[in-house]
């Protein structure tokens, strides 16, 4: 049976997904679903999207053979899918370009978004600037501190950045606040969710927009190697870059897949965001999925050196792929991710985002265990410029 035919009509991936929001948002989500379904069938929309991806985002992104790093690790051949080379520096723009076209089609004049690391906020502010739409980005006050550069970028792009001080002051609280804004301004506002989670249709829609990553990678590896890869590796916060890479390969059983969660200070420490390691299914922010929660069902504070992976929930399709055993979910600690950040920078001259560094950290474990003729594709979902202050700070260096 195909693994790539979900969600069902009501937005479920097996027991996961669905729509768990206040009643005020149910009709707007239905309207969005209908508009999105119509646009999927619309050749003009697809052509416009493809044009934007080519000329605005700069696609296709290269699939680069990391020859030196491969030699150093001494195992499988490692290919990097270079989403870091996209306009604005991460995969997030693929989705915001798509949703912005939808917002325009729906006649909305105002864009809102939540952001963790700031990449999705920047990508939203970017498309809003291009279309001349008002843009408000909600960002946890803690993340505003640790991602000051991206905050300023968003402001330069004309967006208003709202520092969210409720709850744990991170990504989940930013999403709560964005939902509150949406429910209040639903008539003129389009909410661009940045990850493949939230209420239906977002998980499917974001996946579809991000699937360009996997479709390109598939074609590129066939051109380079004449065959499919043996393994795919991507980091999983909400999981949009991972599902974007994985989705076009789901029905290729010979391709193993690894989703890498934030192990923080170690899964045993309690300070992490490894939902599949210690979490269980529940209902949070519009969707049924795996969560980090306490015994009373309160959502737990998470920890990761990377703001973009610091989230208590995970996209529902990942939850389903986990239970199905199609994707293996592992974690990498802050320390392992930092090491991978340095490795790729020094060995390949490519500075990855700390989020992507988690995927790279797993590659350093995986590649040496595989034969030299095997092939791994790892998604470098973003570039690391935004993290230079964080890395310097951790190493006691003042920039």
């Amino acid at each position: 049976m195909s693994k790539a035919n979900l969600p069902d009509a009501s937005g479920h991936f097996g027991p996961y997904g669905g729509r768990f929001v206040a009643e005020t948002l149910m009709e707007p989500l239905e309207e969005l679903t209908a508009a999105y379904e119509a646009m999927k069938q619309d050749a003009n929309f697809q052509a416009e999207f493809d044009r934007d991806l080519a000329h605005y985002v700069g696609r296709p992104s290269p699939l680069y053979f990391a020859e030196r790093w491969t030699r150093i690790l001494g195992g499988a051949k490692i290919y990097l899918k270079r989403e870091d080379l996209n306009h604005t520096g991460a995969h997030k723009i693929n989705n915001t370009v798509g949703q912005a076209l939808l917002a325009k089609r729906l006649g909305k004049t105002r864009i809102i978004a939540e952001t963790g690391a700031g990449q999705h906020g920047v990508a939203s502010a970017t498309v809003a600037a291009r279309l001349g739409l008002e843009c408000v980005v909600y960002m946890g006050a803690e993340d505003v501190q640790r991602q000051a550069l991206n905050v300023y970028r968003m402001k330069l792009l004309g967006a208003t950045v709202v520092a969210v001080t409720s709850g744990t002051k991170t990504l989940k609280d930013a999403m709560n606040e964005a939902m509150r804004d949406w429910v209040t301004n639903v008539d003129d506002t389009y909410y661009i969710i940045g990850t493949a989670s939230g209420p239906h249709p977002y998980p499917a829609m974001v996946r579809d927009f991000q699937s360009i990553i996997g479709r390109e990678a598939k074609q590129q590896i066939l051109e380079a190697e004449g065959r499919l890869p043996d393994a795919l590796v991507a980091c999983v916060g909400g999981g949009s870059n991972a599902i974007g890479l994985f989705y076009p390969f789901l029905d290729e059983p010979q391709v193993a897949m690894y989703g890498v969660e934030a192990g923080g200070e170690g899964v045993g420490s309690g300070l992490h965001a490894a939902r599949f390691a210690t979490g269980r299914p529940g209902v949070f922010q519009g969707v049924r999925t795996y969560l980090l929660e306490d015994d009373n069902g309160q959502i737990m504070a998470t920890h990761s050196v990377s703001a973009g992976l610091d989230y208590a929930g995970v996209g529902p399709e990942h939850a389903w792929l986990h239970d199905e055993g199609r994707v293996t979910y592992v974690s990498a600690t802050d320390t392992e991710a930092l090491q991978a950040f340095h490795d790729l920078t020094r060995f390949e001259g490519i500075m990855p985002a700390l989020e992507s560094s988690h995927a790279l950290a797993h590659v350093t474990r995986l590649a040496p265990q595989m034969d030299r003729e095997k092939i791994i594709i790892v998604n470098v979902s973003g570039r690391g410029d935004k993290d230079i202050h964080t890395v310097a700070g951790l190493e006691g260096i003042k920039v």
Binding site: V21, A22, S166, Q285, G286, R288, N296, G297
Partner: protein
């Protein structure tokens, strides 16, 4: 007949409308809640809505968000809230109590288990903001089996077809969210609420409560003129918040507001 249905039937014969105050359980500390519930009943509350504190109250404005945070400082859990209802029932077997909150704490307890413990405690209704009827089939079955009413929301954006579906699933009363926004917002349009009441009544016989944005005696009076019940949340919780440092003053602060509302509604 459920305690909620009985209460509305009784009010109808008296020609009165229900006043339903909301407080977050355990705000600002767990000892305040049960005595406050009794005090609210004494000044004319007909049903009580007890908020179950949640870490991520997505539909709440700042007032109830902060109430959740104050209660969670004391780790007030769904089980603690059920224990409070049980304590309240020791001396009040008449006043219906509706729990209001978010799904995840109920998910963790499990539907059957929650329903059993809640029924034993004397809970009459459950309103989970993030649980639309489409997703609630199993939950509704578990609640109905123990005679707890599942309460559902209707919103200004709810179209006719959905309204019919929600009204078919609802028991006890339906809760009309009077505005597009979060709890405690300031943009209540009472004329529009009146029009909506007529639309909803075409779909159901059960009573209609109206909440979100009712802040004083005047707005309570005007909503009571068109609806069957007036739900007052943030305005009550504000009185709690203002006295969070002197909890002994909370009862009087809340009750003086409810007395004014009651008088206006009955006038």
């Amino acid at each position: 007949m459920s305690r909620i249905a009985q209460k509305f039937a009784e009010l109808k014969t008296q020609g009165r409308k229900a006043l339903i105050p909301f407080v977050t359980a355990g705000d600002p500390n767990p000892a305040v809640t049960v005595p406050l519930m009794h005090a609210m009943v004494a000044v004319g509350a007909d049903l009580l809505e007890l908020g179950v504190p949640f870490s991520d109250p997505m539909a709440e404005g700042p007032t109830i968000q902060k109430a959740c945070e104050r209660a969670l400082l004391h780790n007030v859990s769904l089980r603690d809230v059920l224990a409070m209802v049980k304590e309240f029932r020791q001396t009040d077997s008449q006043t219906p109590v509706v729990l209001m909150g978010y799904m995840n704490p109920v998910e963790v307890m499990g539907y059957q288990n929650f329903a059993r413990v809640a029924a034993e405690a004397g809970v009459d209704g459950l309103l989970t903001v993030d649980m639309p009827p489409e997703e609630a089939v199993d939950l509704v079955a578990a609640l109905v089996a123990v005679e707890i009413d599942p309460i559902f929301l209707l919103a200004p954006t709810t179209m006719d077809t959905r309204m019919a579906m929600i009204c078919a699933a609802a028991r006890g009363f339906v809760y009309y969210v009077s505005l597009k926004g979060v709890t405690g917002a300031a943009n209540l349009d009472i004329d529009l609420v009146g029009q909506k009441m007529e639309q909803i009544r075409r779909h159901t016989q059960i009573p209609i409560g109206v909440g979100f944005g009712i802040r004083d005696a005047e707005s309570a009076r005007r909503v009571a003129a068109v609806a069957d019940a007036v739900v007052v949340g943030s305005a009550v919780v504000n009185r709690v918040a203002e006295n969070a440092e002197q909890p002994e003053k909370i009862q009087e602060a809340v009750c003086s507001l409810l007395r004014e509302m009651r008088a206006a509604m009955d006038s």
